[in-house]
């Protein structure tokens, strides 16, 4: 951390170099916090930092104004090096009302900055937040750097000549706060200014107001003597290329469109809205000129069934849902596996069980994904590990589904689905095509055999409309080769084993499991899905402290990569952090007989890096296996 001096028009304010900053914007649901969070993210990314975000909004459509339940937050880390999570402890909290202060303060590191809208700490708001006296005036905030900015007043001031009403003016407050923070962290205003112009092209008055207020905030920072420091976070050394921010849901949608392109197919997406998966449907339904067919079904069962029908007729077919929807799809997924057609089911996990905590994150649908079907019904299960990884994972899921003629469940979760990070945009031309083969002639002397398998044990994908390949599929047991209904005992046993063997064959396609860190030794941290970022960060930090810790992020959960068992043999202790009660750990025990240590959190919140780091320390200190 170096300190130098920057010159501004009015005052000279020292600039502190920081490696990484965690900032949280928090305010009432109506205060536009998601918006400023997103803008700050973009500016930081465009500036050249690596960024990771965590939007956290209330479950209610609109909880009572000013209440603790109604606080909407947006936290991000921006950094001069790789980041994998939204950050543990907050360096700067921007709190637009008392409730936001109340819910956020505990996460601010001692000595961190707390920037409040001073005007919002009136009696009514204090009461709504459950404060009896102003926390700004007692020792609630002692130990933090408190900055009281009259955000409401400044906003109104900046807009006083616009003729806008007070209510309209106040709606711009978030931009004032953003301006102040832009100044504080030396962010460029241009991307946001450009965004405002575009976004409000149809209401120039609003565009003008927001522009004015953003600048007013920035200049306030520059002009007033409130802050005794500015901060700078240098650019991260990111691989060169063209970048954008993506959330996991956006990346998944883009991945599906890209996969369809790579497969030379039209995309069919049949889905029923559910938090936090709906955005995939929203995004896809925008792109009609890609001939994306989005079908909002009457329920999840219909969505799944429509996907099966579309796959039969030859589209690249996918659906997206969350836990309760996956439960409803169980029976139809079983049909999908039985008729052996390609389809992808994206399950964006949320807090369960039942309706649970719909806007919170969790990883507790793994066992349902693996086992939530009657009969012997193995299918491929994968998990994406970060927002941008959703893109790659979806494409791989489509690739596997088509090659192995099978449903693939891809697990993501609320954390990576809504979280954003910069993503280096791939060159589509460099992505390998997804090979699709539709037969156009019979595959045997006696005609077309819909269940005659290739070397992968996959059956042919013959499309309705093709002369000479007419056949029937269904959920009753199929006779080997012909696919006719068969009640034969031996045939049933054979088909069950063939289907399982085919799924096992997918391990041929997924490659070896990667390990980062020492290739053998005391501790391997194993993770999957949305906790991967925290795990990666924790092991990186531990290694940077000289600790011998490796980590393995598992994308392929069924089947596992072939070398996984051998990897486990090389470490004394295996730690499996999960946002559930130990589901992967259960599977590892059953599959490999290993007694891993669990770190389990099931509070609807993502891991903090430090939680995992402490566990690593604890294990290494105690020198061995625990449970």
């Amino acid at each position: 951390m170096t300190t130098e001096t920057a010159t501004s028009k009015h005052v000279e304010i020292p600039v502190e170099e920081m490696d990484e900053v965690v900032i949280r914007f928090a305010g009432d649901s109506g205060d536009g916090m998601q918006l400023v969070g997103t803008q700050f993210t973009r500016s930081s990314a465009i500036f050249g930092n690596d960024v990771s975000t965590f939007p956290d909004y209330p479950a209610e459509i609109r909880a009572p104004a000013g209440s603790v339940a109604g606080v909407s937050g947006f936290q991000l880390t921006f950094s001069s090096h790789d980041v994998h999570t939204h950050g543990d402890s907050v360096d700067a909290l921007v709190a637009l009302n008392p409730a936001a202060l109340k819910t956020g303060l505990a996460d601010v590191r001692r000595g961190g900055a707390v920037i409040v809208n001073d005007d919002a700490f009136g009696k009514v708001n204090l009461q709504r937040a459950g404060y009896t006296s102003s926390p700004l005036d007692d020792d609630t905030v002692s130990g933090y750097k408190l900055y009281r900015v009259p955000i409401t007043r400044l906003t109104r001031e900046a807009l006083k000549d616009t003729g806008l009403g007070t209510k309209q003016m106040d709606r711009c407050r978030n931009f004032l706060a953003l301006g102040v923070i832009y100044w504080l962290y030396g962010r460029p205003m241009e991307p946001t200014l450009a965004w405002i112009t575009e976004k409000f092209a149809k209401s120039p008055a609003v565009a003008k107001a927001n522009t004015a207020v953003l600048k007013a905030g920035y200049y306030f920072g520059e002009t007033c003597e409130l802050f005794d420091h500015r901060y700078r976070v240098a650019k991260a050394a990111l691989p060169p290329g063209q970048y954008r921010n993506v959330s996991g849901n956006l990346a998944a949608a883009l991945g599906l469109i890209t996969a369809a392109h790579l497969a030379g197919k039209e995309l069919f997406y049949g889905s029923y809205p559910i938090t936090p998966a709906s955005e995939i449907l929203h995004e896809l339904s925008r792109h009609k000129n890609f001939r994306v067919k989005t079908f909002q079904a009457e329920d999840e069962i219909a969505a799944m069934a429509s996907v099966i029908g579309a796959a039969f007729a030859g589209d690249l077919a996918a659906t997206g849902t969350s836990g309760p929807g996956l439960a409803l799809k169980s029976e139809a997924i079983g049909l999908g596996m039985m008729i052996e057609l390609p389809m992808v089911i994206i399950n964006v996990q949320r807090g369960g069980p039942s309706t649970g905590l719909p806007t919170k994150t969790e990883q507790a649908d793994l066992l349902q994904s693996l086992f939530g079907r009657h009969g012997e019904c193995p299918i491929c299960v994968m998990a994406a590990s970060s927002p941008s990884d959703c893109f790659d994972s979806v494409i791989e899921a489509c690739r596997i589904a088509i090659r192995y003629m099978t449903p693939v469940i891809l697990l993501t979760d609320g954390y990576i689905a809504n979280g954003e990070e910069p993503w280096r945009i791939p060159a589509v031309a460099d992505l390998s095509k997804i090979e699709v083969h539709h037969p156009d002639a019979p595959n045997s002397e006696s005609g077309f055999l819909p269940y005659k398998r290739n070397d992968d044990l996959s059956r042919p994908w013959a499309l309705p409309g093709t002369p000479g390949l007419r056949h029937r599929v269904g959920g009753l047991e199929s006779e080997d080769l012909t696919g006719n209904v068969s009640y034969d005992a031996d045939n049933h046993e054979r088909m069950i084993r063939l289907r399982a063997a085919k799924i096992d064959n997918i391990a041929d396609a997924v490659g070896d499991q990667d390990v980062v860190g020492p290739p053998e030794g005391d501790l391997l941290v194993v993770g999957w899905g949305g906790t991967s970022g925290a795990i990666t960060s924790a092991t990186e930090r531990a290694r940077s402290r000289g600790l011998p810790v490796a980590d393995a992020i598992i994308r392929h959960i069924h089947p596992f990569p072939k070398n996984l068992g051998a990897i486990f043999d090389r470490y004394r202790t295996i730690l499996v952090p999960e946002l559930n009660m130990g589901q992967l750990r259960y599977v590892l025990r059953a599959e490999y007989g290993i007694e891993a240590v669990g770190l389990n959190k099931i509070s609807g919140k993502p891991f903090m890096i430090s939680e995992i780091e402490s566990k690593i320390d604890e294990i290494l200190e105690s020198g061995g296996v625990q449970s």
Binding site: P191, K288, A297, E298, A303, G465, R472, G475
Partner: protein, 340 residues
């Protein structure tokens, strides 16, 4: 297994699978007519997809030498929706039962009908669960004794046509398994209709509900208990065609022709009435008070889901050009990190 040739016969639409309904089951007759109509319509076999759920009736696809999909219980329609949306060129036929289509699958029925995809829905109504050996179905009569209601059913039955009409159906018809000529003609009409065609087919379950429709099939009863709808024609029935249906306000009544009552006083059928109220009213006519109408209750035009979707896509391509994936990925605010 060879490709379709002009002049395909009904038997060419028969697959090599043995048909396995009980002797005497009404499904046989329907199967025969469907094959015949396929031939008459010169439908290329590879263009047909027959989708079903689970039930005796739902074994149908196995017996057709077309593409076929035997789904899961109640889900034939969303499967068919996926098929049709993915490839609107296909001729999609859905076979479902009164349990499959109205009990577990009732919601899909409503929604498929309102979307008005160009598919043909044949609901075999035998007023019983056949495959599971004789439980009450949503069309079983109040008081009916079945395996699951040995003391008599306590549920008011629903009327398939009323459900369809309530769900904004554009084509609604009824026919009878053993009235082969009428059934064939009705299937023809359904195939021709652009949009979801819904046909309720009265079907005798020989084993578990034999005679449920004897009033409509028996020689000595049918003339008085069935009335054939003809577009633009008055509603006349009876062995001697001497009875008719007249409207009294909104209530239909049976009248005898003659004695001052002429055909002109009768209700005239209008398939294409602006509003489906006539079709609804006709769907309420049930034995014994009324003869039950057979034929096309309603046939109207409305936007079709798969066509509208195609239009939207074409429109989008027109307006924005065909999607370019690289451009899409590179949209939404990008920046460049230069090589260091």
């Amino acid at each position: 297994m060879s490709d379709p040739l002009p002049g395909l016969k009904a038997k060419d639409y028969a697959s090599n699978q043995e048909v396995r309904w009980c002797p005497g089951c009404g499904d046989y007759s329907i199967l025969t007519q469907v094959r015949k109509v396929f031939a008459e319509l010169h439908l290329p076999r590879q263009q047909i997809v027959c989708v079903s759920g689970i039930g005796c009736s739902s074994r149908f696809p196995y017996y057709l030498e077309t593409y076929g999909f035997h789904g899961i219980h109640g889900r034939a329609l969303p499967i068919a929706t996926g098929v049709k949306v993915a490839n609107p060129e296909l001729s999609v036929w859905v076979v479902t039962g009164d349990g499959d289509g109205l009990s577990i699958g009732g919601n899909h029925l409503i929604h498929a009908i309102r979307r008005n995809l160009d598919i043909n829905i044949l609901l075999f109504n035998n007023r019983i669960y056949g495959l599971t050996k004789g439980q009450t179905s949503p069309t079983s009569e109040l008081g009916k004794r079945t395996k699951s209601t040995p003391w008599g059913s306590t549920e008011n039955p629903i009327h398939p046509l009323a459900i369809a009409i309530g769900a904004e159906a554009t084509f609604v018809a009824r026919s009878l398994d053993v009235n082969t000529k009428h059934l064939a003609a009705t299937l023809h009409r359904a195939a021709e209709h652009l949009g979801s065609s819904f046909i309720e087919i009265y079907q005798d379950c020989h084993v578990f509900n034999h005679g449920a429709f004897s009033y409509a099939s028996d020689k000595d009863q049918r003339d008085d208990s069935v009335i054939y709808l003809e577009h633009g024609r008055p509603l006349i029935f009876g062995k001697n065609r001497d009875k008719g249906i007249r409207l009294n306000g909104l209530n239909p009544e049976v009248v005898k022709l003659g004695n001052g009552i002429s055909e002109d006083d009768l209700l005239f059928h209008d398939e294409r009435a602006r509003e489906p109220s006539l079709a609804y009213l006709l769907s309420r006519m049930t034995v014994p008070e009324f003869p039950e109408p057979m034929g096309v209750f309603r046939c109207a035009d409305a936007p079709r889901y798969e066509t509208e979707m195609q239009n939207q896509m074409a429109d989008a391509v027109d307006r924005m050009g065909p999607g370019n994936v690289q451009e899409l990925l590179s949209s939404g605010g990008t920046w460049v990190v230069e090589a260091p």
